[in-house]
């Protein structure tokens, strides 16, 4: 995983494709949020009740 990220970083630097950075961040973010929201861990959430 680390190698992929390093390769990708080198690719961005060499080809100056900085516009890809937001896209990659968003893909990771959406993936992370989908994984969290789909897991049963958050389904019975603990809420504040007074």
């Amino acid at each position: 995983m680390k190698d992929i990220l390093v390769d990708f970083w080198n690719y961005l630097r060499q080809h100056k494709k900085w516009w890809l950075v937001p896209l990659i961040i968003i893909i990771f973010l959406v993936g992370f949020l989908l994984a969290i929201s789909g897991s049963s861990a958050l389904a019975p959430f603990i809420y504040s009740l007074f």
């Binding site: 900085w18 516009w19 950075v21 968003i26 959406v30 861990a41 009740l49 007074f50």
Partner: protein, 367 residues
Amino acid sequence: MRKIKNIFLVTLITYLLIELVCFVFIKTKFKSAHFPQFSFQYNYTAYDFPIAEISDHWGTWHYPGKYVEKKQCFESVYNINSYGARDKERSRSGDTGRIVLLGDSFMEGYGLNVPHRFSDQLEVLTQKEVMNFACGYFTPTQEYLVYKHLATSFDHNTVIIGILPFNDLAEDDTSFHEQDKFVHYQPYFVSNGSGYQLIYREDKLSKSTFNKAGYAALQNTGKERLNRFLKEFSFWYNIYQFIRTSKPSVNKMEKPYSGYYDFTEAQLKKLEFILEQLKKTSGARRVIVLTLPVQNDFLRYNGSGIPPLADKLKTFCMANDIGYEDLLGEFAKKVKNPSELYFNCDGHWNEKANQMAAEIVLHLLRK
């Protein structure tokens, strides 16, 4: 110069896209997360919540006046009357058939406006005044004390107390509030070997910081200002806070906590003692105890039989001439999907649950 411009552009676009994604997730998946209002509240100017520790006898109570409580799925107006109850003005003398209602935020009608709360709907169904003395944050000890020191001065012949097993048992203990950011003036009954003794967390009400002044001092620190700014002006921060506060609590448990199943014997004994005191104070009046479910309770309830807490309270109430109804079992009979009974952005009952509870209690009152 061009490089700086590019970095700025990429950063800006990244941030906006993150915000867009987080907005979509709050709207669709994380509905319980706070939804930013984009209003300049981060410079704290006013205490906008009606509840504070202002009573010498029972601590937490309402400031008289009008307040608005707003969340993604509701906007609720709090009209607090002259003696601090979220209710219309009631005269102390009146029809002897009146009902006193005690409880916490569920009985107070958190998130609901006046015609839709349990007490309002019960008043319409019974054609009798239902005087609401419930208050958010209340524990059974406080409910007993507000009855003893305030509600008894109002003519009535029935007392209804709503117990929320989810937090009423655990919060009515001196260990609760130990890590709290406020200094609390909270009453507790503590066991002294032969019985229970009433103590207060602080010896004077003036030491409490859970009030307008204490809130202002806490909210005006730089950290809290930044926290409030991010909360009201960004979506990512609210998702971060939601995940941070939700995940660890759930991961610790294989099964979600339910006070109906996970109570301790000491908690039950204390609750029974408080109910005995309430019954004694009420004299010959009718006392009815309700146990109120949260969504977690349905996850533990198997759809039939009586949960252990309800079973023990039923036996106790029968022996003490107290009426009892467990609304977990009653609600489960009436709805297939319990989420129909709760706000989708908050764990409190919605209008439907309040109406259903009022109909169940009406039936009980007519027995």
